[in-house]
Symmetry: C2
Subunit: 139 residues, 2 copies
């Protein structure tokens, strides 16, 4: 038995690829378009960790996706939490839970999927501006 | 960067462990209880695939968890899709999307998390009773 992927639905494929790939750092592995079902599937994974994917389902007929409480978040270990949060912030992504402790941050995808980012190898030394930043919203 | 886990909230820890471990076949790797936060975290993974977890969050204060459309499902590759579906069905789990094609099935966790089960190595030959079973509900 093997974990393959977590599927999330996305309302704007370009905005989601910008978030998950350009900003977050995942890479597109595979894409398939289904004319009859009117949907596109895109599989993403962290570089070097291609066994565990996120599957983006983009239904061509517009729908606004909201969340429920049974799903919590996707979690990734990252090499440099501060550098990643700076990049995300510069790209306009809200850092809902800033990495005040050098250990953990939370952001949300364009469709409200909560993403936990955890520093590889244990917490970095707490550092401004992160140390003083308040939480924004929920995650 | 590395995928760590998908977190889901569970309203009944015993029922969820029965579903994810006893029925589905995941194993508990780690458990922590937080008295102050009044929650328990349990990390599960498929045997031999411990790098990719499901994190169950059990909040001690009761809450009913429902789903949203932005999260789709968790997907696992399994060794014998028919055997697993038989075991799940015998345990009272609804097979929402029976493996009519020998390739794919969908079930739901006690809190409505959709789980996709995919046959390892490609589809098995279609076989009764699965071949004739209708869908039940949504997944």
């Amino acid at each position: 038995m093997k974990y393959l992927h977590t599927m999330v639905r996305v309302s704007d494929l370009d905005a989601s690829l910008n978030f998950y790939c350009t900003q977050l750092g995942l890479r597109e592995l595979k894409r398939s378009e289904n004319e009859r079902g009117r949907f596109t599937l895109v599989f993403l994974a962290a570089p070097g960790d291609e066994g565990a994917c996120v599957e983006l389902t983009y239904n061509w007929d517009p729908e606004t996706y909201t969340g429920g409480r049974n799903f919590g978040h996707l979690a990734y270990q990252v090499d440099d939490l501060y550098a990643l949060c700076s990049r995300l912030q510069a790209a306009g992504v809200t850092i809902n839970r800033p990495p005040r402790d050098g250990h953990m941050a939370f952001v949300r995808s364009p469709d409200g999927i909560s993403i936990e980012l955890l520093q590889k190898g244990g917490p970095l030394p707490p550092r401004e501006p992160w140390k003083s930043l308040p939480n924004i919203g929920t995650w």
